[in-house]
Every structure is written in C-alpha cells, then in structure tokens.
Symmetry: C2
Subunit: 468 residues, 2 copies
Amino acid sequence: MGIIFKHASGRASSLLARIRFLRMVEYDITSLKIVVHSDSEELQLGVDESYTLMVSKKNEQSIVGAATIEANTVYGALRGLETFSQLCAFDYLTKSVQIYKAPWYIQDKPRFGYRGLLIDTSRHFLPIDVIKQIIESMSFAKLNVLHWHIVDEQSFPFETPTYPNLWKGAYSRWERYTVEDASEIVRFAKMRGINVMAEVDVPGHAESWGTGYPDLWPSLSCREPLDVTKNFTFDVISGILADMRKIFPFELFHLGGDEVNTDCWKNTTHVKEWLQGRNFTTKDAYKYFVLRAQQIAISKNWTPVNWEETFSSFGKDLDPRTVIQNWLVSDICQKAVAKGFRCIFSNQGYWYLDHLDVPWDKVYNTEPLNGIEDPSLQKLVIGGEVCMWGETADTSVVLQTIWPRAAAAAERMWSTREAVSKGNITLTALPRLHYFRCLLNNRGVPAAPVDNFYARRPPSGPGSCYAQ
Amino acid sequence: MGIIFKHASGRASSLLARIRFLRMVEYDITSLKIVVHSDSEELQLGVDESYTLMVSKKNEQSIVGAATIEANTVYGALRGLETFSQLCAFDYLTKSVQIYKAPWYIQDKPRFGYRGLLIDTSRHFLPIDVIKQIIESMSFAKLNVLHWHIVDEQSFPFETPTYPNLWKGAYSRWERYTVEDASEIVRFAKMRGINVMAEVDVPGHAESWGTGYPDLWPSLSCREPLDVTKNFTFDVISGILADMRKIFPFELFHLGGDEVNTDCWKNTTHVKEWLQGRNFTTKDAYKYFVLRAQQIAISKNWTPVNWEETFSSFGKDLDPRTVIQNWLVSDICQKAVAKGFRCIFSNQGYWYLDHLDVPWDKVYNTEPLNGIEDPSLQKLVIGGEVCMWGETADTSVVLQTIWPRAAAAAERMWSTREAVSKGNITLTALPRLHYFRCLLNNRGVPAAPVDNFYARRPPSGPGSCYAQ
C-alpha cells in the first residue's frame, strides 16, 4: 500500500486524495483479492514462488471487479504483489493510481530457485538499516537470497556467544552485529521472501579471528590460513556454526574455501612438523581443513556451499551434497554439474558488482546455463548470484554500486532463457532497465544511471532519470 | 525511539531486548521528561530553538531519575531530542543503551536563525521519498530551512493549478510534484522543525516555463529571460505564487534573479521596441522585472529573497525588506547589511556542495560574519546555506554529495563563533565529523568518507567508518 499509494499518503493530503481515488473509475483499482493455497510459511531453497495475476478489463474506461493474485505459497503471492505494484502507476493528470495496459493475465514463476546477492560486511561494516535497505531493494527485483559474507580477514563484526572474544576483531566497538541484530535481519528478509545464507570463509580470509583468539593464527607472522593443526581451530568453527544455526534457518551455509594461500603454513615450524607427521602436502592440509569444516556444517543439518577452488582442487573428495559457487573460471559450473554437484553461477568477469567497468548489457547477456545442454544437468545449476564485495563499497556507495546492474542479472535469472536471449536488448531490455532504475529511485533507492560506462558514476549533466 | 533503540527494535528480538534493557542500570535511561513552555506550533524565521538538557549522575554506575529537556517551543525540544539521541549509544557488551559521559547540563541555542540547504529539482527530479530522506538527514545536523529550488530552465516539475500547462515542462509525465506532494513535504519538514522556502527564479533560469506557455518566451530563438513586455508573464508569476502561497507558509519566498543574460531581449523585435518605448536599457528592464515580481510576492504577504546580483545591480531600488542571498562575491553580505538589507551567506567557493573539490575543512572554516564587526550589522546576517545544485547530483548521489560536508557548515552556523574558531580543527572538529558521518551511516544516510579530497568519492580500500 505504501508503495502503490505513495501520492495519496501523508496526513495533509490523504483524505482529499482518498476521496478522489474512490471517485475515479478509469482503471482504478479499489480491491485486490489474494488467494494462497498453502498455509506453510517455510522459506527454503526451491520454495514455490509461482503466481497468477489477473486484471480484467471491461472497456476502455474501467476494469471488472477486483484484481486477483493466486499462489501456492505466501512467497508466490509476494512476487505477484511486486509485479502488481509495478503495473500500478500514479497518473498525474487524473491523480489516481491506474493499472498500466489492462487487461492482464500473468502466469509467472522463476527460472532459478536461487537468485542471490552477496554483501560483504568485513571490508566495510554495513549498518543494520543499510542491510535492510539492500534487502528491501532486492525484493523489488525478486532476488531471493542474501549471501551474507559476514567476516573476512579485515574485520570480525559478528557476535559469537560461544567465543565472545571473536568480535574483538571488529573495526571498532560500534561496528558490530549482535545475535539479535542478525535475527532481525533474517526476520526482515523472510517477510520479503528472501533467505539469508551466512558465510564463514575458512581457512583463508580469516585473519581477523585471531584478534580475539591469537591461538588461531599459526604464528604472529602467519595469521592466515587458520591454524590447521589445532583442535581449537575446529572447536571455534563448531562454536560459531552452533551459534549461527540458531539464527540462520536457511538450509545452505557457505564455508568459503577460496584463495587459500598456504605458503606460510610451510614456514611455521609446528605446522610444518604436523604436515610431515601426517605426510601431508599443504594441499592435503587445505583439503583436510575444508572437509572437516564441511562435516561440522553437515552435523548441524546444513548443506555446505564452497567456492569453486575446493572443487578444482579436490572435487572428488567433497561431500556430494556440496553446492559449488563459481567465481573464477567460466566453465566451472559445467564441470561441477557433470560430476553431480549443484552449482551457483557468479562469474567475476560479469557478475562481480565491484568490477565497475562491467556495463549493464554484459551483466544481462551472461547466461548461467551456458554450455550446459542436458536438462538433467541444467537442473543442478540452482541459480546465480551477483557479488557486491566491499573493498571500496561502504554505506556511502553500496546501493548505487548494486543498482541498476543487479536488476539485469535478476531478470536473466527470473525469466525464461528464450525471453532474455532474443532480439536486440538495447530495444527490449534497456528501456525496462531505465524504467526500473527510476522505479528504484522513486522508492528511495539511489540506483545509479544505467548508461554510464562505469558503475555508480553520477550523471554527466542535467536530464531525466528515464534517459540517463 | 526508533533512532535510540534501534538494536532493541524488531519483532523477533524486542521482548528479550526490552526486558534486558529494563534490568540494566548502568547509565540506562528509562524515562525522559520534556517540558515545553509555549503551545504555539508556529514555525517561522527566528523561532526559539533553545533548549536545556539535564542528565544527573548518581555514581559511576547510574543516573538519577529521568533525563529532562526543557524548551520554550516544541522546536527547541526537537533540537534537544536530537542532542539527546546523539548522547545515547548502544553498548555492545552490556547490550543496553547508555548515556555517554553523564552527567550533562547543556544549555544550547543556535547562533543563526536561518541554517539552510538548497536542493535543485529542475536539473534532476528528486522523488518525494528522496526529499524526505534529505529533510530527515538535515534534522540530524539541526539545519532548519530547506531551500527548494523547484524549477529552472531544464524542467518545470511543479503542479500549478492556475496555469496547468506549466508542468508540461517536466522531464516526463512521472517526474512531477503535485500540490499534495508539496504539502506533504512541507508537513514532513515541519514535524522536524524545518521550514521550506520555495524558489521561483525569474526572469532568467526559466526556459522550461515556455513548454506549456510559449508566449512566455520572447521568441522561439530567445527562450529566456522571460518576456518582460507582456502582462501575461506577470499574470503567470502571480498565479504560481498564489498557488504556492497555499502550500508554503514560511515567511520567506525566493524570487531568484541571478545570472540574467538579457542579450536576446535586445535581439527580439517586440522586446526591443518595448525597451525603446520606455527608454529602458536591458538593465532597466531586468530591474523592472525583479521589482514587479517582488511586489507580487509582497502582495501575497511574503518577504522576498533574491540572489545577490539584484543587489549589485540596483540595490537601492530593492524593497528594503528584501533578503539578499550571497553566492558569487565574498563580501556581498558585508555590503548588503551596510545598506540595511538582511543577508544569507552561501559563498560558492565554500558552501556550494556541487563544488566537489572543496574539502570539509574549507567548508568548516568559512565564517558568515567575516568582515562584519558591528553587532547591529551582524544581526542582519540571518544565517547561511549550503547549496546542492543538481546538474550532476541526482537521486543516486545527492545524499553523499551533501554529507558529510553540510555538517561542517551546520556546526559553524549553530555554535558560537568562538567555539568553532579556536584550536586546531583537525584535533577538535574532525573527530566529531568522522563520528557524525558514521552516525549518519548508522541511521541509513549514505554520507561519504570525510577524508577523501574529492567529495562523494568511495573509500579507497577496506577500513572503519570512523577512520575514513
């Protein structure tokens, strides 16, 4: 209601506007009927997001009865409501909300069950209000997974009651998330049909852990990867995951596993001796670490997700339930599904939003199923994800770096492959993206101009939102 | 409440958090007493914004009774509430809201009654939600006038019922403000103790008017300044002002008058003849236009504000009630107050926020009373204003171009001249500005890093908000 009837809100004008609204008949919508068949509110991977939206037209001037949304789940109904809100437009001449081009009969469902956006709260802390702004904006593009890369080498902002010194690795005593904050994020996201997938990236990308527990560092000069030799390391991982399990109900949990540089393990005496004692190469130790972490996640009833290096390095040893997340190599999903693994597509050359030189059309034209023709293998690609790494994206610029480009990927992941692959996208998709950018702006989201070659650049001069 | 108790809000955690909150005693605040002496809610220039804030300390661990805010008006109480909210901080270890460094006894009032921010909705349309975000953020820095430069040569987004074709000059049929939208902005601002000063800039900067009424253009090749020869021109101005008078209760109304290039008047036959008939130079005609517009504003019980060129060009003929707004010449306020005019300081070299190369310290060190030593003349400087011109500041970047630099000017305008002029500001003001930038971020405002030489640049690498 707040989104659709923006212009009729506000104390000063509401009564007048509402009366005018009720008097108008041209395409005016006075009621919306929503039918949901299931009363389950469980939100998991593959939840039914399909919906049917009907708006009947009587003649040029009016619609018949109510608009109707029918869905199997509340989450399908939410997607239908989002579509409905985007068909409604305030007409400035009649000052009424009208439905664009009625009648409508829309049967809709997503192509992929996993349509993600990664945020990184370690390189820069993102306040709760900002994470909520991001989640809210995701719902406008029907994205449905917030991949929360919570901690990394730079900072550990997260409260872990079992190991309460860990968040001493936060940038400051104010740049932190409590357990209650995280629960509130999960609740806020669920209300919008969005799952939150937490990530604890091990054994690399973990230097900040040692601020609270220096024993996790192999030595003062070797602060990551985490010390593979100590049970304490895995006790801490187990403690973190036990604490997080109470917060994050989503079945997927991300264990990272990327960019593990094991050089300094070799140069640390007690690690070196441990490796020799087990007759391990450092690669063996990397595998040992990842697999042991996987078992911890699995013991907590989580399905592990790992970055693609784990698959490239020792794919045959990974738990078969593992979901592989691509970032580096173009055809890794192709290879992973061929081995029976599920895969998430996030190729850095196209879907890493911190790559500011990737324009909207390159984002749009990237197909997660590229090179995968067998329908049974295609099903193993659960979806894709755009990644907003935080090195140069803090609160001041994060939303305009995400939008509008994330919307290009969102359309590809939602719509059929045929629909997004035909025609001249400058004539088909671009006007939609311009329109959607302005829609985000109207909803208070600072989406950047579509046309600028570099992402998040300001407009170069005066002009309409619809043309920049 | 929403600002102070952010971490205790949210359905999932609220009960738990609230119980914990009530149990805690260390500096916890459980009640706040507010005493307002006047029941008038009128918000005009010079409204009493003073307040007293008291928080007593019993011992190291607790405060005595309630905190108290006492003020003569609700607007003073609002300023006190803002200060109070900034003394409160969530303590992540005890998970309670604590008052920083109690006890406090604060007697506070602003140095200037006019502390403005200009927004420009002609070069880029700013949606209602975005204008509200700007207003909300202004209240955090105790700014109290939103100078709404509504229309200009590029677009005319404003509804004028008396001349309904004017907003045909909008960029598009969606980039418009209805009368109700504008009233909602005024209401929203008033709730935060902020007046809205509308601007209708004449006779230059008005090309967009002619899209709806081409008669306002001297000719198709001379589209501004407005046609000085026709009564219709002044009828339209009168109509716009009559419509706006119902929306904007603030006593000041801005008539522009800047950058009037009269060259094409001379080249337009009927204008040239009109000038000759009256024995007018183009400068005489410019004066004639401005003075006639002033009389229209005055007839509607408005005090006219004009940009400084009107004073430089024909200051002795201006209505003595005119408020002169500086932008171009450093000592224009000095000259204007010497002639008995009131003045608003907005020197472009320091307080134009679209000048991205002006760093925070240059903004901070600029003193509106510079060169004005006589206390009776100082009183004529009613305040200052930072100006966010919109050529390259649309929804995607407007807030991070305003903040944090606007806060540097806000502190100068609020605090005593002595307080902001002593010591090494890198040690005094800069830490406050860093803190305030993070406070804005925490409240969901995308204020940019303080230290970057160019405004609104992203951070150059990972780091804490308090250090970038």
